[in-house]
Point group: D2
Chain length 359, copies 4
């Protein structure tokens, strides 16, 4: 009898249920009644606290299109529960190992992003059998060309930009759409191009406010009274990019506006005399039914994870590399970030058609 | 030869182009080559400044599905341009009459919301032939059961709520979605019900923060760890509802948060100890292609406006009353607001299924 | 203790689950633990065979957005099961009464269309307490201005027309889109207008093929190389409209093509020398998540049904009349059909902007 | 002065306008007023007949989201116009060369699929400077991992499957959804997985009707009363796969049903006693606004084509290989077909989760 535990951890995204379904269906097809699948509630919290339940084939039926995660999720345990009262990091690690061993698991399947994979690697180093799947709307996981959730979030952010476009042109206004992504700009880059943004600001390319204003003025002179800026949550100015981490944190803490978009709106407004509108779709970008692309990717990742379990190739994350599904050691993934290469073809193409990156 | 001018004024919304197309196609069908249609740029600004252009049948082709307005729009002239330098109200009125008379118009077709209709009525009182169409995502125009734009905005706000739902349930979080509507709650009410919101706050029903918190706690006790609040931009507390207009303005001016949703998030957060997330879809709600409902309504309104012109029934707004298209005198429309009746069946039904209005 | 049974019958449509949820939530809010709700499987089949199950509040959670019906559905029992072996009509009626009485129901809530309401009325006449809700994408139920499902189906059919539009214009082709509706043309009329169809054929207005060809030729001469026909499944020619019912059935039985659209394509093709493409979205039109409009309507209908139960006003269908929710006696609804009035404003408006109805 | 001609040929698809915009914007950015762009009407027809027009920057504005092609398109010239009266193949080739040379083009940019690329290669061999972009919803162009249009079509077909799902489950019915693709199964495979189809039939894997029926019966026995088959237009039975081309053509010509789906419905119906419903979304699948993925891809391809022109690297198709944009010689592309490898991971994953390919 194979006993498999599954958990989803970190911010939710589209495709989690599709991936869970993929893992489960492939396991049931492979092992039939020789496998038991256990759902662990709310990510690592459930592993720490022993909160899990036996699941059955019907639990995985009809969830392909469902947003969110049927298993619940929570933030990283080491970040959220630091107090001695709740248990130190070591204690929590011990508790997770305890639960794993009490459950008698053959493998723990983990679906998550960067934080999740750090913990997954730690568990693997501690001797647990772990197989993981790369989920995040940020597409910033090292080792895979693509994460599920990303393309669905691009669709939503693009839809927002499309709608803003019609109102921007009708009024001749300047709009900022703030797109998710604190550390990397994949989502903003792709949605920005797909949504026809005139300016795209991403963390990887610090901006110069005067360059942005210049672009807006050139558009005005060309008779285009409106402009749309796709701005990543993590966009930074050139000045900020030269600060130490400490200085930067202090600067942002002192910032009066709730986010970079509002600050940009104020600055551009002062420099151009125009009123700049801000739209913050926020968590909307990570919700709802996964797009077809993500459903196929999630299903492939899920089936691949089941194959790794069948072959006992533990300690790996399933990944997409050059259109092929591969296994990447957790130790190679953990702690790394896949930022947008500033010389990539996608950025080059955007520049080629006249998009400004504010640099 | 009939000469007809068309302008769109105030905030844009879905269905403007569909309505423009309806007017134009019906005029061309009725009068053939005996009608000339002129597009007036950017609402009343174009009428004041004499900025217009002759249009042709092909200009109205393929715009049924197009968001925004091909004529451009601008805010109310009397509000935006008050300085003596730019021209006093009287002067601007004279300029509009001048342009109308220089153009030799038989009728001016005006598409707009409440502000627009005040001016339309003024122009009508000054002797101009005016026919108007009710557009606004707010559905707050007196005299019509429905305005175009409303249902499309409901669709978008509902989609946002749907997506927030999946992330809210996965994380067990409380979310506030801020929905457009400073003065009336139609949009928030309908999207709130359609999106399954647990709490709906609208300007017509002042809220009591303790009642809201109570609802959230009851949900927690019932094992529902998440809650979604659909909050109109114009939501007000019971305390605020008792203030004088002056006091209220002062209170809001002193408010640290950018909008009521952020203030609510802070207050609820403090009372419950939970972190409350805020999503502000903003102008996204008024952009993009009109939904099927709005396209049909816009087309009917457009054709009805052409009929009024053909019958020389000037000084009227086309309207929907009990599923029938009627003409309502501009004088009856101007200056009134259609708020949500707090005892209406829609609110009652929402209460019946357990939705809290925070009262 | 109140005992309430619910069933959905006839072709499924969007909004059934939203309505079921509305009924149930309102009953639980009103009666708390003093109500028991029973789901009857697959429409009247479940009532005949005694196939039902106790449901609980959590069963009605999260179904607002879900397409189809969680209760299952089946065609009318009197139509489908005529053989003596299966039971005559009388026997089945007795079986339904038996189940109702064995279940000890206070009221049976029925969601369905025209066929369903005939049976509902029969049951009511036999002394059962029945309350019904009008569902159908056809909007052909007598006594209500609107049924839920209709607007969602309009959205889908309009989307199909939108997409066909771009390919039709690119290729300069003539397309027929076959839209659901065997007896009435509401869906085709609304989707046709919303999707910018050039020709709309509905059962209420028999067509003349030469008139259709004339419209296509006029468009060609005006330089519009493409045309789109929105054709109801139940469209009929003028010649057919003069046939006796028997003659018509024979004529259609002898028809080589699988549906009227294919016949029209052939006929128009022969008369114009152009190749005509046919698209048949079929059951696609009745599936998927209900649109916001239908969710609000379903919720209102659901809450209204619960109010009727609370007030013991049995023998009624909840309905929308002039924007108000009313109760209409089942005896008035049963056996009637709400066809599109050929002189209604919507048809007039379509004609006004140049749409041909082939007459 | 650079003179560039652009044409779109073959069946239209989503992303054509986005790609045209990409080419044009990148050319204007690169060459400014030193480039003239000419639109050639309706594909090669316009090149043969000298039907072209000078275009300007504003012509390429606002078309990113637009379905279809602003240039019009037509089927392959060599296929459509074979009569001596119209001109033999050689004559038409000469006419195309004539137009090219009269226009004084530096390069002809061609957007199309397999047929289009054969002609493009021919023109290139005749000494014309040609650069091409791979468009098709079929994704069957050799030399590129992905064509634009494909992902948008997957989205639409998946949406159809999603909606059919809710009606299929409600009624316990078997549905066939016929998906575009006469020669290859990429679209059916991806939409089938994304839409949760139980059976996927593609041209690359001939089916055995008894295997399909077996799958349906197993599902019935497992209590799943409904099943969904995603069937490519070009699906063939095992018996048919062993026929000579001539025999196959004769067999299909003798087929009573309008398409393979209807034949399958009849056959399965006879074998199972169940009524099988067929949905044929048809050209709907290639219309409407491109999805975000296709917009990004189209933009990248467009910018890459402009780079090839700038570098005078003629005779190439831009392509995506392992996430990188490359140039592939037309001679390598022409006449080849990229079928789905039957041992690819996507098919394997589908099998892993229990999808039947009818083999």
């Amino acid at each position: 009898m194979k006993k498999i535990g599954i958990l989803t951890s970190g911010g939710d995204c589209q495709g989690l249920n599709a991936a869970i379904r993929g893992v489960a269906k492939a396991l049931y097809e492979e092992f039939g009644s020789d496998v038991e699948i256990y759902g662990i509630r709310d990510g690592y919290r459930g592993l720490i606290e022993g909160d899990f339940h036996r699941m059955h084939p019907e639990d995985f039926s009809g969830i392909l299109t469902l947003g969110g995660t049927i298993l619940g999720t929570s933030r990283q345990p080491f970040k959220l529960m630091k107090s001695a009262a709740e248990g130190s990091e070591t204690t929590k690690l011990e508790k997770m190992k305890d639960t794993y061993s009490k459950m008698g698991l053959d493998c723990l399947v983990v679906l998550g992003g960067n934080g999740t994979h750090k913990t997954a690697n730690l568990l693997s180093e501690e001797g647990l059998n772990v197989v993981s799947l790369p989920k995040t709307i940020d597409n910033d996981l090292w080792g895979t060309d693509m994460t599920f959730g990303f393309q669905s979030a691009v669709d939503i952010a693009t839809h927002v930009l499309d709608c803003i476009h019609t109102t921007a042109t009708s009024h001749g206004r300047v709009f900022i759409v703030e797109i998710m992504g604190h550390k990397v700009g994949w989502l903003t880059l792709h949605a920005g191009i797909a949504g026809g943004a005139d300016v795209i600001l991403i963390p990887e390319i610090p901006y110069d406010i005067t360059k942005i204003v210049q672009t807006l003025e050139q558009r005005n002179q060309a008779g285009k009274g409106f402009s749309i800026l796709a701005v990543a949550e993590g966009a930074i100015s050139k000045a900020e990019s030269k600060m130490s981490k400490k200085e930067f944190k202090a600067a942002r803490a002192a910032m009066a506006e709730p986010s970079i978009s509002y600050r940009l709106a104020k600055e551009i407004g002062e420099l151009t005399g125009q009123e700049i509108r801000v739209t913050v779709p926020g968590h909307f970008q990570r919700g709802g039914s996964p797009c077809a692309y993500d459903r196929v990717l999630s299903t492939r990742f899920g089936a691949a994870a089941a194959r790794l379990i069948q072959e006992k190739k533990y300690g790996n994350m399933v990944a997409l590399q050059n259109n092929r599904i591969v296994a990447v050691p957790l130790s190679e993934v953990a702690g790394k970030l896949k930022a947008v290469p500033t010389d990539c073809d996608t950025i080059q193409s955007a520049r080629d058609i006249g998009v400004s990156f504010g640099d």
